[in-house]
Amino acid sequence: MTLQAKEPFHFYTRQTLTYLTGRRASTLGELLSGIKEASEASIYHHTHHFLAQHEFLSPEPPNDFAYWITNILQDRLLGEEVASIDLREYASLEAIRSATVDVIERGQPSAGKRLDRHAPAGEEFHFMEAKSFVFPTRHVARSLEEFRDCLQQVSIFSIYFHVFEARLREGNSDFSLWLSTSLQEEELAKEFLQFDPYTQTLENLRLTLIRLVEARLQKG
């Protein structure tokens, strides 16, 4: 018999509006101080918007900081280091900010002058912020079977919200939390946390999630 969840899972979706801050960086030094002073909404935008806007292109989307350091400042070594910061490791935007600052500052002694390297005119880094608007969808799951069906039907924006945004910006309403607290599916919840969603396209991510749920359902 299908186990009913204590609380139903409501699928939400989200849309984002981008704000310009008027702050820009022409050098690595200016980028670094910008990152230190930026709002969390700005750190979120620059580490995640690429994923949402280009998710179809590549399973390894660079964040904006890494992209700018690599392609505009032409510092491939540091760019690679910033791109490979494992965002999954960090539970908050503050932690992502600190990790990014650490990587850039750590690189300084070996290449002291690179903090002053200038971007070509017109290719400055522009600090922006994301304001997200979250809407309830009509999809609600009350059991693991329904959860799988919803995963098949919701938009990729909904998947994106629950996997990335809810975790970092809200600290709740992500899939694994519901699986463990409402369905007592501790093992499955752990599996949901074990893979790295940042290195998959969103459609692949959907398939991975569905596969995990189906494997659990087959076990009975």
Partner: protein, 407 residues
């Protein structure tokens, strides 16, 4: 007139469904758009498409146009040039005329919308009625704002900062302002004459009319004959690759005839072309959307070698047709092309020639860039994304402080 459902096949059903989710939370809110022209010009063109689509979504969208005499529009034209970076002096009479015309319109227009959405500088001083009316006001700047003339900007800024929020088209247009600045890129309409699918016969007949060989590779730049679009640089690029690869160059654009600088640029391009039978200089009349569409679709590679650019929507148009594009990294172009993902960015004649050689000699690489480019435009630069952003902009006025808004 296109309907929302006509966009499902391009934007995706989930995008259209989520537009409805967003719009239903705006029911009962009226949005009054105000600009300075009912026809002609990019702003009127956008409003003509957006207002009916917003209405179809159940949003009470309205559109009014300010009235002004010839002299008023001469002043605003001058203002427009100044905001594009030309140093311009305004007399006190001109400033008085600008303000008086705005005042007259502020009195005569029924400013009853819950949200008053002002487009461009011409009607921006209508804001003076805000405190008396108590509604929300938005100002949308549609023009290139990267280097505005400081005097003109300081003058306008006193009005702009009274708005609840401003909207710009590219990150480089952002200013230091005391009000929120929202980034909303322009968009293309996949159902317009410039972008709709064309039967092969139409494309063939356009090529035939211009005597372009359909069998040989074709490199195209569509733009006005303007120094900032670097058409002479494009000819130089072509010269560098012509030695190695058999191909043709098409430079097509309009706007040169009544523009003294345009005529000068055209003369320089003609000199650079030097009657080369493989280079086609096409001066197109204003209503040439089908021709432009056909030329883009017939191209092997599209160039947009701009030295400065507002947004550069010709890039989105070419990407939408699945074409590999090489473009200058200026204005809004880097938003449309992520280097080596959805096209190539270049800065010099040599760099552009190198990129062009790569694309002409590696059709599968070129094809992949084009495919990614189309997908990028599909998700980020179609009119449906523009609609989504406008709806969010309207929501944002009710939630000015939060970075996560639950609707």
């Amino acid at each position: 007139m296109a309907h929302l459902n006509d966009y499902r096949e391009f934007a995706g059903a989930d995008v259209i469904d989520e537009l409805a989710l967003s719009a239903e939370r705006l029911s009962g809110v009226s949005i009054q758009n105000i600009n300075s022209t009912a026809v002609g010009g990019g702003v009127a063109e956008i409003l003509m498409r957006m207002v009916p689509l917003l209405q179809e979504l159940g949003v009470n969208a309205l559109w009014d146009v300010i009235k002004g005499g010839e002299q008023f529009f001469e002043v605003t034209k001058k203002m427009h040039n100044a905001l594009h970076g030309q140093p311009v002096q305004f007399s006190q009479d001109e400033i008085d005329l600008f303000l008086a015309t705005n005042e007259t319109n502020a009195r005569e227009l029924n400013l009853h919308g819950d949200i008053i959405f002002i487009h461009d500088p011409q009607p921006c001083a209508l804001i003076q009625r805000k405190s008396e009316l108590g509604n929300k006001w938005l100002w949308r700047c549609h023009i290139d704002f990267s280097r505005p003339d400081p005097f003109t900007w300081e003058f306008l800024k006193t009005y702009i900062e009274q708005y609840d929020a401003s909207v710009f088209s590219a990150p480089s247009f952002a200013r230091q302002l005391s009000i929120p600045q929202v980034l909303i890129s322009p968009s293309i309409d996949p159902l317009s004459d410039k972008n709709k699918e064309l039967p092969q016969e139409v494309i063939d007949s356009v090529l035939q009319r211009f005597k372009i060989d359909p069998e040989r590779p074709m490199v195209t730049q569509i733009s006005r004959f303007d120094y900032l679009k670097d058409p002479v640089g494009v000819v130089q690029v072509f010269r560098k690759i012509q030695k190695y690869i058999d191909c043709q160059l098409v430079l097509a654009g309009g706007g040169a005839v009544d523009d003294p600088e345009g005529a000068k640029v055209l003369a320089e391009v003609q000199e650079a072309v030097n009657n080369d039978p493989d280079i086609f200089l096409l001066l197109l009349p204003p209503a040439s959307d089908i021709e432009i569409n056909a030329l883009q679709r017939a191209s092997t590679v599209v160039l947009q070698k701009s030295l400065r650019e507002g947004f550069g929507l010709t890039v989105a148009e070419a990407l939408w047709k699945g074409k590999p594009v090489i473009a200058g990294a200026v204005g809004g172009i880097p938003l449309q092309i992520v280097h080596k993902y959805s096209g190539l960015l270049s800065h010099t004649v040599e760099g552009t020639a190198f990129a062009l050689k790569q694309l002409l000699q590696n059709p599968s690489y070129a094809n992949n860039l084009g495919k990614n480019g189309r997908e990028h435009v599909r998700r980020n630069f179609l009119i449906t994304r523009h609609l989504r952003d406008y709806l969010l902009l309207f929501h944002s006025l009710r939630h000015p402080k939060e970075s996560m808004v639950y609707l």
